[in-house]
């Protein structure tokens, strides 16, 4: 019964939290109306996600978010230094082809988004067999090390979260 009414509890929780943030209040009336929508929207949007991702909510997910925020701050300073002080001819931009171990579309999307948000790398495309991700790096001395870093720092953690 609960599973039929709440086919996607994570989505329901997220919609409710977003609704509360939009109204910027903890008023019970606001929460009740939000709950109605948070239950109805997943029910009616179910045909759009026939195979939904299984995400483990918990410490690894929180740790991942904090890690990405920290990396965004650090990488911002690194890229700012590159832009301000490096001569144009000293830039070594590179295309990186990252072999993927992640399989679900959602997990790969999160990885690609993470790569784009951390300054210095932008994810560009995915191979047709979904086993390689094309990434452009602004400046890298050692492309292999850059690929290895993305794989150990982000992909390994995402493998634990999307199980």
């Amino acid at each position: 019964m609960i599973a039929r009414l709440l086919p996607h509890p994570g989505l329901t929780a997220m919609l409710l939290v977003m609704w509360m943030i939009v109204f910027n209040s903890l008023n019970p009336g606001v929460a009740l109306l939000g709950l109605v929508f948070a239950v109805l929207v997943p029910l009616f949007s179910a045909p759009f996600w026939p195979e939904r991702a299984r995400i483990r909510f918990g410490w690894p997910l929180l740790a991942y978010v904090l890690l990405v925020v920290w990396d965004i701050v650090v990488a911002n300073f690194q890229v700012a230094r590159l832009i301000l002080f490096k001569r144009t001819r000293d830039f070594r931009p590179a295309w990186l082809s990252i072999p993927l171990e992640l399989h679900s579309a959602e997990a790969i999307t999160v990885l690609a988004g993470t790569i784009s948000l951390t300054p210095g790398t932008v994810s560009v495309d995915i191979s047709t067999d979904a086993r390689h991700l094309l990434v452009h790096a602004l400046h890298t001395e050692d492309p292999e090390a850059e690929i290895a870093q993305i794989k150990t720092r982000y992909e390994r953690r995402l493998l634990e979260i999307f199980a």
Partner: protein
């Protein structure tokens, strides 16, 4: 100065610091957009401005309204969330359009620029080149 008057001063100082930090990163990002040589390198400028640049200003806004305005506002969190959802996607679409125009896969092999690595594997290519043709009469490869 007593602690009661010191705290607002500290908060104001922190707010000012965050605004300057955010503004500085937005400026550096725009400067990068202007000075970097090619489209793919230029793309790295705005992704930076939209993360730490806007992030710093949003944090400053939350702090300021928490102790000067009508109370804490959570809308800044939503701005950050939507920005973080949309910024990678727009960068991705620009990059895909760029490689699609720049590296044609169906022309003669000598025309294909070798800068872009192909994914390893026999029957695979980057998705933007491997998409099925919209129709049989498509003239995508004629040019």
């Amino acid at each position: 100065m007593s602690p009661v008057t010191l705290l607002p001063t500290l908060l104001d100082a922190l707010t000012a610091f965050l605004i300057v930090l955010g503004g500085a990163f937005a400026l550096i990002g725009s400067w990068g957009l202007a000075r970097l040589p090619a489209l793919m390198t230029r793309l790295h400028g705005p992704t930076k401005a939209s993360t730490l640049g806007v992030g710093g200003i949003i944090l400053a806004s939350m702090l300021w309204f928490a102790h000067h305005g009508e109370g804490a506002s959570s809308h800044e969190l939503l701005i950050t969330l939507f920005l973080f959802l949309s910024a990678p996607i727009s960068a991705n679409m620009i990059a895909k359009a760029y490689i699609h125009r720049r590296f044609r896969r169906c022309s003669a092999p000598e025309d294909v620029e070798t800068e872009l690595p192909a994914p390893p594997g026999e029957r695979t290519d980057w998705a933007t080149f491997g998409a099925p043709e919209p129709s049989e009469t498509s003239e995508r490869c004629e040019t």
